[in-house]
């Protein structure tokens, strides 16, 4: 694929828990950057879905996070490191339909327990690490075709 990427492109975002109004800013920025670079539509869609779901989880569950993305000629890496409650049972959290979202968040249409599975499905590599009481780190890699 003819990609206009000769160098490494990266950016970082500060995400604040509870700040629903800013949800989607990081994913929208990444989407715009990938569009500008002429990246394949399917890849852009996958990156947008995965990044937005990660943003939402920080906003719903954590206090704050740093989202960092790196675009190279081969792939996109998105890493989200949060300060939050952590996840006790990652295997359970990864199950479709599992959610601890409170009622008021469910009323907004979040809490279907689909976010983490969506992130995994849309990444070529998916890693999640969590320490209860400290935070959760998610790293996703999407390869260019």
């Amino acid at each position: 694929m003819a990609l206009n990427i000769n160098e490494i492109i990266e950016d970082s975002f500060q995400l604040i828990g509870g700040n629903f109004a800013t949800a989607g800013e990081a994913s929208t920025q990444l989407k715009m950057k990938l569009t500008e670079l002429g990246v394949d539509e399917t890849i852009i869609r996958r990156a947008a879905i995965a990044t937005f779901e990660a943003e939402m989880n920080v906003i719903i569950y954590a206090a704050a996070a740093r989202l960092h993305y790196v675009i190279t000629p081969r792939n996109i890496t998105i890493r989200i490191e949060d300060m939050g409650p952590g996840i006790e049972d990652i295997q359970l959290a990864m199950q479709e339909g599992y959610s601890t979202a409170p009622d008021w968040v469910r009323e907004m249409g979040w809490g279907a327990g689909m976010g983490l599975p969506n992130m995994k499905k849309n990444s070529d590599e998916f890693r999640i690490d969590s320490v209860v009481g400290e935070g959760t780190t998610v790293e996703m890699v999407i390869n260019f075709p």
Binding site: F20, G24, E41, R45, A48, I49, F52, A112
Partner: protein, 111 residues
């Protein structure tokens, strides 16, 4: 079918993004679960929902949806309309229920 073609038959009130009425409607997705819409809606779809908060704008923008129809006469807050206008997301409202809206669109698209 263009987005503009569904306005009159469904008596939609176009609240924002009226410059996109020439866009094609590729299909319709009905859901009030946002992660479900992120996962399963298609590019160019019209999204029928009763959700009215800010996140619907981000979802529609990120998924390149053709528009959002907020059903059952629900009030869309001013800050949501403002964000939608700024991000060129078409928000439409109707007094019809999700079922009636989907039924009419199904007729128009597939019957």
């Amino acid at each position: 079918m263009k987005l503009g073609d569904i306005i009159e038959p469904l008596s939609l009130d176009v609240r924002t993004g009226s410059s996109s009425l020439g866009r094609a409607v590729t299909g319709v997705y009905v859901s009030d679960l946002l992660s479900d819409v992120m996962a399963n809606s298609g590019e160019g779809n019209v999204w029928i929902t009763l959700q009215t908060h800010l996140n619907i704008v981000a979802v529609a923008g990120l998924k390149n949806l053709t528009g959002i129809i907020v059903v059952s006469g629900r009030n869309v807050p001013a800050d949501v309309l403002q964000k939608a206008e700024a991000e060129k997301v078409t928000v439409m409202t109707t007094q019809l229920s999700a079922f009636e809206t989907a039924g009419k669109l199904y007729q128009m698209l597939y019957a």
